[in-house]
């Protein structure tokens, strides 16, 4: 604990103090300019890292937000005589506004479409900055006087300190945000937007907020940039700057404030590196050796693919050769950025800090923060009273996909407190029923009643918030998050701290409580000892249990388990059955979709059998097993099980 305090906080404090006292020791305007730029780029890259690192989307608009902030600040100062703080406030507000607007289309998009929407936003911004000459003076450039702050005119040194203060404040606020529930939600969103909605977290809302904050920070940096440069031209905020910014984030290391710091240091120093051939040769030589050693080690230990090992060596080799054969490397600037970025992307995807932090953590043996005391499970999942009355009713529900009638008019009533089995051969419509109830699909027609009221249709999020929780047949765990965070992120109680308080670092208490409650739930499914494991490293069976634990964290009235036993080994199935029974004893109603007849007949109070989207039988498990219609649906012939017939479907349950 003490060690952690000393090393983690100590390092931050040390760097902050160093950055603060440098101008007193060295009075050099060039140096001061670099430091100011470092603080500004630091803010800008922290904003970019939210989308690129935490949301995992390629954001090409950050250079545009720098421009929007810079021009807003410049215009309100030169036109309307704003002072410094109001001008920065205006810049940030305009950035947030445009960020929110851009988030509308970008919200629903992933991957290339997201990248394209941000790319065209950037191109649009450049055009507008160039063409709205009455506001921006176009290509001619805008003079921006540095305004006073609280009546004082800031000199170069004073302005640097101001930038540094902003950088430190942003750093602290982001550290609070990203270690809070919000940060977890951002990462959950990256791993599975569907599960983020199904766990009641809200994919759209969090994506919009993340993007807005990132854009606002970009524009805050832009405001500071305007007062630092005091002259703005549209052609600064273009494609090339954006590539440099991405280089900073990727090279420094995504999802890390220290990575951002390293990244901004590098991009601040880059132009100087390029103006001195000897310096360039030294650094590219070091990079080449690094790539060579890492590549050969990876090849020998067979941990990296040949391409991954060779490509960075070739890229860095090209850099060294370039330095040897050209006199003016400044001309090759873009190629140099490209080769560096390429080598890092392929060879060191976690960036310099990601790479270094693994070694640093080992070197100093910093233990993670200890968990709080585990809560009592009976306090976490409070026993619900059940009355045996209908909890969920499907009335003549239909879902067609074009001409395919996946569900063709089913009526089912699930009573409070029961385990209701839903079985049927492959393609009988079981999963579609689950997806319609949970809101992934809107039904073609029919009603769903929950607690006697009509349930919202076609919204995973709203259904989840009403108390229906589900697991997924094809796992949708938040694979990059630790096991305990997978559970915590689904807890309702912990969202009560509002954003401004989170930024100030409040709300730690609710996090501790969520932790202790999550431990109790993990204990119940037998994953207590894996709490710190990254979810994707869990064995398959454990990942299925984790899905159940996460669904339980919602404290649902109704839990839908979509083939929880699929792919489990026999001992795991036994464990699973115990867990399901325990959950049911807490008064939680369960819909169990299953192939294993053994599981169904052992667990379920009542079973509904589907075939071709219709209910073909309903009743107690024993009755179902003898029902001729069911036997025909499963085996393709009626009532003569000893005769060998043609088996029409691939799903043959173990009729035990």
């Amino acid at each position: 604990m003490l060690k952690r305090l000393v090393f983690v906080l100590g390092a931050e404090l040390l760097v902050a103090v160093l950055l603060a006292v440098v101008p007193m020791a060295v009075d050099n305007s060039f140096m001061l300019g670099l430091l100011t730029l470092l603080a500004i780029y630091g803010i800008l890259l922290i904003g970019l890292d939210i989308t690129v690192g935490y949301l995992g989307q390629v954001n090409l608009a950050q250079a545009a937000f720098l421009g929007i902030g810079a021009y807003t600040a410049g215009i309100v100062v030169s036109r309307f005589g704003f002072t410094l703080i109001p001008a920065l406030f205006a810049a940030t507000a305009v950035g947030c506004l445009f960020g929110r607007l851009l988030a509308f289309p970008a919200l629903r998009l992933e991957g290339p479409q997201f990248a394209l929407s941000t790319l065209s936003f950037m191109a649009l911004t450049t055009t507008v900055l160039n063409e709205l000459e009455f506001l921006t003076k176009g290509a001619e450039g805008l003079q921006v006087p540095r305004p006073p702050i609280f009546g004082f005119m800031l000199e170069t040194k004073g302005f640097y300190w101001l930038c540094l203060i902003f950088f430190i404040l942003v750093w602290i606020a982001m550290k609070n945000l990203l270690t809070s529930q919000w940060g977890r939600a951002f990462e959950a969103l990256r791993d599975s937007p569907i599960a983020t909605d199904a766990m009641g977290i809200g994919a759209h809302r969090h994506k919009a907020i993340a993007f807005t904050i990132g854009s606002g920070l970009g524009s805050l940096a832009g405001g500071l940039y305007a007062f630092s440069m005091q002259f703005l031209q549209p052609q600064v905020f273009v494609y090339e700057l954006m590539v440099i910014l991405l280089l900073g984030v990727v090279l420094g290391g995504r999802k890390s404030l220290w990575g951002v710091f390293v990244g901004s240091t590098i991009i601040v120093l880059l132009p100087n590196l390029l103006s001195n051939l000897l310096l360039f040769e030294i650094f590219s030589g070091i990079g080449f050796l690094f790539a060579l050693v890492a590549g050969i080690r990876g090849m020998v230990s067979r941990t990296t693919k040949p391409f991954q090992a060779a490509a960075p060596i070739i890229a860095m080799g090209l850099l060294v050769t370039l330095g040897l054969f050209t006199s003016n490397i400044e001309d090759w600037r873009k190629a140099i950025f490209a080769l560096m970025l390429f080598a890092v992307m392929v060879g060191l995807p976690e960036g310099l800090m990601g790479f270094a932090s693994r070694y640093l953590a080992k070197l100093f043996r910093i233990d993670p923060l200890p968990f709080p005391e585990q809560a009592e499970i009976s306090d976490v999942l409070i026993r619900q009273e059940t009355d045996g009355r209908p909890l969920l009713v499907l009335q003549d529900l239909k879902k067609y996909f074009g001409g395919v009638k996946a569900i063709d008019g089913i009526t089912i009533s699930v009573n409070s407190g029961e385990i209701h089995g839903l079985i049927g051969p492959n393609g009988s419509g079981k999963s579609t029923v689950v997806n319609v109830i949970s809101g992934l699909y809107a039904p073609t027609s029919g009603e769903i009643l929950f607690h006697g009221k009509i349930l919202v249709k076609g919204s995973l999020l709203k259904v989840a918030q009403l108390g229906i929780s589900r697991t997924f047949q094809n796992l949708q765990i938040f694979s990059e998050l630790p096991v305990i965070d997978n559970v915590m992120v689904a807890m309702k109680s912990i969202y009560q701290t509002s954003l401004p308080f989170v930024l100030l670092g409040l709300g730690q208490k609710s996090i501790r409580r969520a932790q202790s409650e999550s431990l109790a739930i993990l204990d119940m499914v037998g994953l207590r000892d894996e709490a710190r494991t990254i979810a994707k490293d869990l064995p398959y069976g454990a990942q299925r249990l984790l899905e159940i634990a996460r669904a339980l964290a919602r404290r649902p009235d109704l839990l839908i388990l979509d083939e929880p036993a699929a792919g489990l080994s026999q001992p795991d199935v036994k464990k699973l059955l115990k867990i399901i029974r325990k959950i049911n004893e807490l008064g939680i109603t369960i819909i169990l979709i299953e192939h294993h007849m053994e599981v169904v007949s052992e667990m379920c109070h009542i079973v509904t059998v589907l075939d071709y989207g219709k209910v073909i039988a309903q009743g107690k498990p024993d009755e179902i097993k003898r029902n001729p219609a069911v036997i025909e649906a499963y085996l393709g012939f009626a009532s003569e099980p000893e005769k060998k017939g043609t088996i029409s479907r691939d799903a043959i349950p173990e009729l035990s």
Binding site: G56, Q57, V58, L60, L102, F104, P105, A106, R108, L109, G111, P112, Q113, A115, L116, S117, L119, S120, F121, A123, L124, T127, N130, E131, I194, Y239, E240, V243, L246, V250, K305, F307, Q308, A311, D331, W332, R333, K334, A335, I336, F337, A338, L339, L341, F342, M345, V346, P349, F401, S431, N435, L440, Y441, F472, Q473, N474, Q476
Partner: protein
């Protein structure tokens, strides 16, 4: 008189739009097989055009120059696939977006240093003396653009439908996993699609160079509009690109006539954002059913 001017603008815009459609068609080819596109496609257009220019300066006849240029395009496409796309696709990550942007930047810088930063005229045997059709002047070069675009697109569609390799291409586009189970190598098909996409880019370079001249930045605006056309039409819908391309070409030509040439990029970019906001699968694309 003014009306004729407007028609004139629309016709020239439409010819330009065909080129956007061609580059957009190149995006569709790679998106169909590998669900990825080359963000540096504009640089392929530009590099191929420069290579063609150099070949012409060597004294090669036009036809051979074009064939060699297309071959270079194919090789460049393969290079992009191998170095920027394959690894990311294997890791199921979206790193290819950044990596193709990076390669584009590399191509840009290399050509800037080899061929210089200035725009250069592109010699062509096709005359650019205008003739009048209903009072609107059309140049043979513009006609050659239309012929070239339809010729290459028709050829590729024919290849996809009539040859075994083309059918493998369609199979991977429809269902990658099923195609692999049938013994079709998805990797090779993705490679093939990048090679064809490179050919398409090179063709676009050959076709527009006589109109726009050749320079490092010749395709940076072009590629944005091609993105726009591809997304508005739908990244996985065949010939919709031609209609959308012509529409966009006309629209931007009118924009620059009525509002000012500085704003000519705006309609394309706005259309792109709007299309992404309202219908991410495009006008002609099919809605995707989310599966879990």
């Amino acid at each position: 008189m003014d009306q004729i001017m407007v028609f004139q603008m629309m016709v020239s815009g439409a010819f330009m739009g065909l080129v956007y459609a061609l580059v957009a068609y190149g995006f569709q080819l790679t998106y169909a097989t590998g669900k990825s596109i080359n963000f540096g496609q504009g640089e392929l257009v530009m590099v191929s055009a420069f290579i063609c220019l150099s070949l012409t300066n060597l004294g090669l006849p036009y036809g051979i120059m074009v064939l060699l240029g297309l071959l270079c395009g194919a090789l460049l496409g393969l290079f992009v696939e191998r170095s920027a796309v394959r690894l990311a696709l294997e890791q199921k990550s979206e790193g290819w977006i950044l990596l193709t942007i990076i390669l584009g930047l590399l191509f840009f810088s290399v050509s800037e240093n080899i061929w210089g930063r200035d725009d250069r005229p592109f010699p062509t045997p096709i005359s650019s003396d205008a003739f009048q059709v209903f009072g609107i002047s059309v140049t043979p070069v513009e006609i050659s653009v239309a012929i070239g675009v339809f010729f290459i697109m028709g050829l590729i569609e024919l290849f996809k439908r009539q040859t075994l390799l083309g059918k493998a291409f369609e199979a991977v586009s429809t269902d990658r996993d099923a195609a692999e189970l049938m013994g079709i190598s998805a990797n090779r098909t993705v490679m093939l699609s990048y090679a064809i996409s490179g050919v398409v880019a090179a063709m676009a370079g050959v076709l527009i160079s006589p109109i726009t001249t050749v320079g490092p930045t010749m395709a940076s605006a072009l590629v944005l509009k091609a993105f726009s056309v591809a997304v508005v039409a739908g990244l996985d819908s065949g010939f919709g690109v031609v209609a959308v391309g012509i529409f966009l070409g006309i629209l931007e030509s009118l924009t620059s006539y009525y509002i000012g040439s500085g704003w000519r990029e705006v309609p394309g970019l706005t259309l792109l954002i709007l299309a992404l906001a309202l219908r991410p699968t495009g006008i002609f694309g099919k809605a995707v059913i989310r599966k879990v």
